[in-house]
């Protein structure tokens, strides 16, 4: 699955051609003022998203992982301009979003949609399922009510819900998995090219989660969709993603092909996350917690590298300068474009573990640290 990308038939709305990334995000930033606001400047600033950049090819699936508070949901909303970014660019199929020569936010939303996490309030309790799905086509594309209704029923069918049974029902009569299918149908109603799935399966039971994931995989193929899959569940992300970015406190700390991230994680945080995944094998128990220190507080983050309070390898240089996300010069790429934001990986950065040569000596040390740990991911098969 890694490295091989299906040939994606071009959408009739395509503008940039197959080589143009569908989504290019550069240095996206969003800060929220905190609570100390009475007279003048904000006392506290929540740096929710602080310089996020990535590119997403057409037909690919990007997984975004991180713990709560790392900014992944905020990033999703920034992409759709549900929240206004403070800085940065979003370029959709070659057109800048919100720029005079580019694409308007409204037109962007016709091509980029979001599937929300299932919650009690993700569907309008006063509307029928068919109405909920038909709402977009009717009000945005001005379809006639009966046409919109037809489309809604077709979509219900595609997501596995029998229209004759479900179209006239209300959200409270559906189970969690069924509601999530409706969420998906609603997102597809406007025929988008890019789908952002924000914790789309997190609230579901495991068996239902599997069903929905398979549904998503099928739909991706049938509709030639591009996905951004946001989750804190690493197993799920690995199953569905081509590329993965790992976020911590508003920044991307590692990015690369799914196989590379899961098979050979370079950033200490990624390594810790993977070690934290519980394994099914009773022989491989962990006795120490993989991460030390307090969970991150997005208000007034630490200077320099934000992970340093919890990093076993932190040194003075880590407090002085923030490591940039850049391709590691030493690793033979498994899937190409493996980027890390860590001083240890940059020769000459000043970190004791960063080697001056391009040799993989230090990286092997990092690798062996991983092997000594629980690395459950590796046993389950990398590079299928």
């Amino acid at each position: 699955m890694s490295g091989v990308r299906a040939i994606v038939p071009l959408d009739r709305r395509d503008r940039g051609g197959p080589a143009q990334p569908l989504l290019l995000v550069r240095d996206l930033k969003k800060h929220f003022p905190g609570n100390g606001r009475l007279f003048g400047r904000a006392r506290e600033i929540v740096q929710a998203v602080d310089g996020v950049s990535f590119s997403l090819a057409k037909g690919a699936t990007l997984g975004v992982v991180g713990e709560s508070g790392c900014g992944k949901s905020t990033t999703a909303r920034l992409l759709l301009h549900l929240i206004e970014p403070d800085a940065g660019e979003i370029i959709f199929d070659g057109d800048g979003v919100g720029e005079p020569q580019g694409i308007s936010v409204r037109d962007l939303r016709l091509q980029m949609q979001m599937v929300f996490q299932d919650s009690y309030s993700s569907l309008n309790p006063r509307a029928t399922i068919a109405d909920i799905i038909a709402f977009g086509p009717r009000t945005v594309k001005h379809l006639r009510p009966d046409r919109a209704r037809e489309r809604a029923e077709r979509l219900l069918d595609q997501v596995g819900l029998r229209p004759s049974l479900f179209a006239r029902r209300y959200p409270h009569e559906l189970s969690g998995g069924q509601r999530q299918r409706v969420n998906i149908a609603r997102a597809l109603a406007l025929e988008p090219r890019l789908l952002i799935l924000d914790e789309a399966v997190s609230a579901l039971d495991k068996s239902v989660e599997a069903q929905i994931l398979n549904l998503l995989v099928e739909l991706r193929r049938e509709w030639a969709l591009t996905y951004i899959f946001i989750s804190h569940d690493l197993n799920v992300v690995r199953h569905i993603s081509d590329r993965v970015v790992v976020m911590y406190l508003g920044r991307i700390v590692e990015a690369g092909a799914a196989a590379a991230i899961f098979g050979r994680p370079l950033h200490p945080y990624t390594q810790a996350l993977l070690r934290a995944m519980p394994s099914m094998d009773p022989d491989r128990r962990s006795t120490e917690p993989p991460l030390s220190g307090d969970p991150p507080n997005p208000i007034n983050p630490p200077s320099g590298c934000r992970f340093r309070p919890r990093c076993a390898f932190a040194e003075e240089i880590c407090a002085h300068s923030s490591p940039k996300l850049e391709a590691s010069p030493r690793l033979d790429p498994i899937g190409g474009d493996h980027e890390v934001a860590c001083h240890m990986m940059v020769p000459g950065s000043g970190h004791s573990r960063a080697s001056a040569s391009a040799d993989g000596l230090r990286s092997r040390e990092a690798l062996s640290a991983l092997q000594a740990g629980e690395g459950g991911a590796r046993a389950e098969g990398v590079g299928r």
């Binding site: 549900l82 939303r109 309030s121 569907l123 709402f135 029902r169 409270h172 199953h239």
Partner: protein
């Protein structure tokens, strides 16, 4: 995780056939129907309204003409079932005709205030911080007056009469309705499905009409019906003070005032108009309470 791939894509387990979909209002109506107290209150209210509407047929005498020789006859006098008032007019007929004015003066302000207050509250809830602050602060100023004080002050200043009564009571009821609507709107606005609607690039008016409004109306309705009881009491109170309906019209509050001197002579008769107010107000309050409990529990029950 090989197991994910191994799971077939199964169509969703199906909802049992034959069960009709229950919309929200159908469910509410069903629960109200089962609540005997509310139904009884509603029935009594209906009877009162019908009596008021068909007053010319229900009354036995002319409400404005009285025989001074037969003033203050007690309850049970043949021909005058509920007695006569201080100028000899039949109490029953005056009560029935009075229902028209009392109900009208009680319901209209609430209706008007709901429309005006609802729109303002919706604007305040949907609008930006500036608009919200503007509307809510002005409401706060009017809220700063106890309702009775405000109603009496306005009426005292602009004069008596039905129109002025309705006007002053409407002014009194607008601020609480704005508050309730604004609070509801802001709650609904922050729910996920509204964000989903925004994400679909739908125009604002469509979002308000399909997503916001249906979820706000219920709460507004409950609150408005709870105000009707108060409105009836207040409007009667205004007439009681001489600030509302003017004599010789028949209206319950006015009758109460006029009959005050009669408490030493014929106390039961003097108290009757108040009984009418109590029954009507009570039924409205019970109806409102019943509606609220029917709407309160989270679905499905």
């Amino acid at each position: 995780m090989a197991d994910i791939a191994a799971v077939q894509r199964i169509a969703a387990p199906e909802v049992a056939e034959g069960i009709a979909p229950r919309g929200y209002w159908r469910t509410v109506a069903g629960r109200v129907r089962r609540d005997r107290l509310t139904v009884t209150a509603g029935a009594i209210l209906l009877a009162i309204v019908l009596l008021a509407i068909f007053a010319p047929w229900a009354a036995t005498h002319d409400p404005l003409q009285g025989d001074i020789l037969h003033r203050l006859e007690p309850v049970g006098t043949p021909g005058h079932l509920l007695g006569t008032d201080e100028t000899g007019r039949d109490i029953w007929s005056r009560l029935v005709y009075g229902g028209r004015l009392s109900l009208f003066c009680g319901l209209s302000p609430v209706l008007l205030a709901t429309i005006i207050g609802g729109v303002l509250g919706l604007l305040a809830g949907m609008g930006g911080r500036l608009l919200n602050s503007l509307i809510m602060r002005i409401c706060d100023v009017f809220y700063a007056f106890p309702s009775v004080l405000l109603a009496i002050a306005i009426c005292g200043v602009i004069g008596a009469g039905i129109a002025n009564t309705i006007l002053s009571l409407t002014v009194v009821f607008i601020p609480p309705l704005v508050r309730v609507t604004e609070s509801l709107t802001r709650q609904v606005r922050s729910r996920d499905f509204v964000e989903a609607a925004r994400a679909s690039a739908a125009p604002l008016h469509a979002i308000i009409r399909h997503q916001i409004l249906p979820n706000v109306l219920g709460g507004m309705l409950v609150y408005a019906t709870s105000l009707v009881g108060i409105s009836i009491i207040l409007s009667a109170g205004l007439s009681f003070l001489g600030l509302g309906v003017t004599p010789p019209a028949a209206e319950w509050g006015l009758m109460l005032n006029a009959l005050r001197q009669a408490i030493f002579v014929e106390p039961t008769v003097a108290a009757l108009p108040g009984v009418a107010i109590v029954i009507t107000s009570l039924c409205f309050n019970l109806l409102s309470d019943g509606l609220r409990s029917a709407m309160d529990v989270k679905l499905p029950s």
